[in-house]
């Protein structure tokens, strides 16, 4: 009996050695030609940043998480025409093309790859007009391809000053008494994720503050925005954005009664064409204004009444990086 156990033990021992042996031989074979490429592991850098979640710093109305790269300048023109349909549209106004509700000309410059600053002038769509906007945008987090960071976070802040002549009507939105009354602030946190090469989504909670408003209008307003971009070809994409301002119901009803207008949530739908250096947007939106401080809170035209307009934007990037000398 004992002898038998001993032999089996020896046998298992032998088997173990044989196994080791075959393993070694197989590892030896793995050095063969086909596996030469296996020597090249870890060629992809870890936590690689996702590029081009969106193609421009803005979708239609809303900001994206994108900023301008270092030493690059973006020149951008935004234009919104008049209502296509409704009481102010139709063939008489040539479907809105006779009017322009807002025009914005802006410059954005990249101080670093994460920080950019902007300066813009907009006409302004409400009584609050002749707007000068200074803005700052900072990439707090960037999404990585391995989902180590699953989404991007960008902070946006702006100060818009209305240069319009002060109104004598004390209830008007422009009855400014001192310079600081003309200031409006916007703070937004932009969360964005590129789900795949064809689809990106953004969510933008924001806070708007106006130092002076029309009687019973809100000085402080929270809002949330959502945006998406879906590629339809290599250089074309459909872009959509929507914002919900959280207005106080009593004040909203009062304002709607006294001014005879209704507030609507701004919705934009557009086509984005990217040509390498230029980004064109052809869009339709019910928002008459372009600046954050106006389009989010002061949109009083409705898609359902035909009060949407054609708009476009043209963005051109210039690089001020010195050319590298060829060796």
């Amino acid at each position: 009996m004992r002898q038998k156990i001993r032999t089996t033990l020896q046998q298992t021992h032998l088997q173990k050695i044989l196994l080791l042996f075959t393993l070694l031989i197989s590892s030896l074979y793995s050095f063969g030609q086909q596996d030469l490429e296996k020597e090249l592991t870890n060629t992809n850098p870890v936590h690689e940043k996702v590029f081009a979640t969106f193609k421009d710093t803005k979708l239609i109305n809303s900001h994206t998480n994108e900023t301008i790269h270092k030493n690059e300048l973006e020149f951008k023109v935004d234009h919104r025409f008049g209502d296509i349909g409704g009481s102010n549209g139709g063939i008489k106004q040539f479907f809105g093309l006779d009017n322009s509700t807002d025009v914005r000309i802006g410059f954005d410059y990249g101080i670093s790859d994460r920080l950019s600053v902007g300066l813009a002038r907009a006409k302004g769509a409400t009584a609050v007009q002749q707007l000068y906007e200074t803005s700052i945008k900072f990439r707090l987090l960037e999404q990585t391809t391995d989902d180590y960071i699953p989404f991007a976070v960008t902070l946006f802040g702006s100060n818009t000053i209305a240069a319009v002549h002060a109104s004598d009507d004390p209830a008007a939105a422009t009855a400014y008494r001192k310079f600081t009354d003309r200031m409006n602030y916007v703070t937004q946190i932009i969360f964005a994720r590129k789900f795949n090469s064809n689809f990106s989504f953004s969510l933008t909670p924001g806070y708007l503050h106006s130092n002076f408003t029309a009687f019973r209008d809100q000085n402080d307003l929270f809002a949330i925005g959502a945006g998406a971009r879906a590629k339809i070809s290599k250089r074309m994409a459909i872009v959509v954005d929507y914002s919900i301002p959280f207005r106080n119901r009593a004040d909203k009803e009062y304002l709607e009664q006294t001014s005879g207008v209704k507030f609507y949530n701004p919705l934009g739908v557009g086509l984005e064409i990217e040509t390498g250096g230029h980004v064109f947007h052809l869009n339709f939106t019910n928002a008459a204004a372009i600046e954050e401080m106006q389009y989010i809170s002061q949109t009083t035209s409705s898609w359902l009444k035909g009060q949407y307009r054609w708009g476009f934007s043209i963005a051109r990037r210039f690089s001020f990086n010195k050319k590298e000398t060829r060796q």
């Binding site: 070694l24 090249l40 060629t43 690059e72 690089s319």
Partner: protein, 186 residues
């Protein structure tokens, strides 16, 4: 029983030894450099990566060179974005790869300066094309330094250039490779 065990151990030892010798044939370069130039009247474009990797089997004279497309750095960041998004489509084709063989009988274990012919396949943008180029090799004390340059016709690899920027991107792009190989450590 004991003698059998000894014999097996001896075999094992021999195996390990041969494996060691075998591994000596593998030369690896971890920080190989790839750069490319596109030069037109309108614009000069240059991309550079220093994180490519390459491996040579000195015995079979096989060579593989691989680079991550997103590792290319450009002076203009917007170009880098366009390079990945519109031209290389890096999310679909993350790597560019050359795999081939040195066709000369050069002994890669002997020190010296050599110019060798390399033949193989170049895979860019998911399209593989046969290529042939001359490579200069400097071998000294077990370290191989390799350098080469060749031209790639971007149309060959189905990289489409829209007519609007056709004048900004050259038809042929000059590619330069350089790598320093060290014997694989066992």
């Amino acid at each position: 029983m004991k003698t059998l065990k000894n014999k097996l151990l001896l075999l094992l030892g021999i195996c390990l030894l041969t494996m060691h010798v075998h591994a000596q044939d593998i030369f690896i370069s971890k920080n190989a450099a790839v750069s490319f130039f596109s030069s037109t009247v309108m614009e000069d474009i240059e991309g550079k990566s220093t994180t490519a990797s390459s491996v040579i089997n000195a015995k079979t004279r096989e060579i593989i060179f691989k680079v991550s497309n997103t590792s290319f750095q450009f002076k203009k960041k917007l170009m880098q974005e366009h390079f990945n998004e519109n031209y290389m489509e890096s999310d679909r084709f993350p790597f560019s790869k050359f795999s081939g063989r040195i066709t000369d009988d050069t002994d890669l274990t002997k020190d010296g300066n050599y110019t060798v012919n390399v033949e193989g396949n170049l895979d860019i943008h998911g399209v593989t094309k046969p290529y042939q180029c001359k490579v200069t090799l400097l071998i000294a004390q077990g370290i191989i330094t390799a350098k080469t340059a060749f031209k790639v016709k971007i149309e060959d690899h189905q990289i489409k250039v829209p007519s609007l920027v056709f004048k900004n991107i050259a038809e042929f792009v000059e590619v330069r490779l350089s790598a320093v190989y060290q014997a694989k450590k066992t």
